[in-house]
């Protein structure tokens, strides 16, 4: 009963924040509401019994995306671009379209036969062969490794898109004040430690490369803002290698297991754990680098 009340309030809060963030007058307010909305979505995932998704939503959906949006809005303001205001007409048309889409999607979903247990049974049956005991990691890195491989490709493409827009936006170059400096010194080693912990945890409990990378990226963004790391200086080959390294490693492993006569991405069960950890380690570093460079908002160093 209490749980029902809580869930009801949670859903109401989600709808409320969603509406509020769409109708908010200025961009900054919308972004802050979007971050709050993300935190509530992550709470909803916890209530649905999906802590893996909740962790990813809190770290990436609310945290990193929120930071990226705030950065984009700050850069836009610095460039002197006026916020565009659309007419009531366009707003109404978009809202109508979204409503139509939601109604048709819901009716399609309702027309499906009720779910049995989906693929959970098959995943659990083959779990011992995957090399890990967390079913989510087993699906992401082994059974459906293909999807994760393409995801990294998509992330890299997004970065290419941002780099093609222009050089990185303004970043502080002076040493941070005593307070921010002390905070960076305190929090950076802890973030690295927790990222490593989350990465290792992913094998048997909620955690994994994306969540670990989001933590590392948080530390990296702080370091950029505190001018502890100068992105332009590191904008050379080593940064690019770091960015592409995860994908290169993933493809190398995926293709490497074909040598003894397997198919693409089919890890031998006895070596699966080591291979998954290797890929996830590479992915963590690459994703973190990609997210930090995305935050800079353009090509570091100014040229390609």
């Amino acid at each position: 009963m209490t749980a029902d009340i809580f869930d009801f309030l949670l859903v109401m809060a989600l709808v409320g924040f969603g509406g509020y963030l769409l109708l908010a007058r200025d961009l900054f307010r919308s972004i802050v509401l979007y971050i709050v909305f993300g935190l509530f979505v992550s709470l909803a995932w916890v209530r649905l019994g999906a802590p893996d998704v909740a962790l990813a939503e809190a770290a990436i959906g609310a945290g990193v995306t929120g930071a990226l949006l705030l950065r984009a809005s700050a850069l836009q303001r610095k460039m002197g671009n006026e916020e565009e205001t659309h007419g009531v007409f366009l707003g109404a048309a978009l809202a109508g379209g979204a409503l139509l889409f939601t109604v048709s999607l819901t009716s399609i979903l309702l027309s499906f036969p009720p779910l049995t247990d989906g693929l959970a049974g098959s995943v659990l049956a083959r779990l011992p062969e995957s090399g890990v005991t967390n079913p989510v990691t087993a699906v992401l890195l082994n059974f459906r490794g293909y999807d994760t491989l393409l995801e990294i490709g998509v992330l890299l493409l997004a970065l290419l898109g941002v780099w093609s827009l222009g050089p990185a936006g303004h970043l502080p170059t002076e040493a941070p004040g005593p307070v921010l400096g002390a905070y960076i010194r305190l929090i950076s080693p802890l973030l690295v430690l927790s990222a490593g912990y989350l990465l290792w945890l992913g094998a048997h409990a909620p955690g994994g490369a994306f969540q670990a990378a989001a933590l590392l990226a948080g530390g990296g963004v702080l370091a950029l803002l505190g001018a502890t790391v100068m992105l332009p200086i590191y904008g050379g080959f080593s940064l690019r290698l770091l960015i592409c390294g995860g994908l290169i490693l993933f493809v190398a492993v995926a293709a490497g297991v074909m040598v003894p006569g397997g198919t693409l991405l089919e890890y031998p069960p006895e070596g699966a754990k080591g291979l998954i950890l290797l890929i996830e380690g590479g992915l963590t570093l690459s994703i973190a680098a990609i997210l930090i460079v995305l935050f800079a908002g353009g090509r570091p160093g100014g040229d390609l």
Binding site: G177, V179, L180, A182, Y183, L186, I187, L190
Partner: protein
């Protein structure tokens, strides 16, 4: 109800009171500085009491220690970020509120 569950409930309720007071302060206080003051009280003490309430009900010492660590981290983040916010507000020339 066991003693630890009762104690935990008591501590969490006390913590919630601080959060309530902090939220009222955030909504009612006149300027950014006093609002920060209200907010950090809620974060520090409210969350501390809630963490203590969860710690007495924790399954193991390791769990309790992890909760304590989370509280300390939030404490540090709250202290640093409210300082940064107040500094930025002062740099932008937002005057502190004063009566009359």
């Amino acid at each position: 109800m066991s003693l630890s569950a009762f104690l935990g409930l008591l501590l969490i309720c006390a913590g919630l009171l601080f959060f309530l007071a902090g939220s009222v302060g955030l909504l009612r206080f006149p300027d950014v500085y006093s609002r920060l003051h209200a907010l950090t009280k809620a974060d520090n003490l409210g969350l501390g009491l809630i963490t203590a309430g969860l710690m007495v009900q924790a399954e193991s010492g390791a769990h309790a220690l992890r909760l304590l660590l989370i509280w300390i981290l939030v404490l540090a983040s709250g202290a640093f970020s409210s300082n940064l916010l107040a500094r930025t507000a002062r740099r932008r020339g937002i005057p502190p509120w004063s009566r009359g």
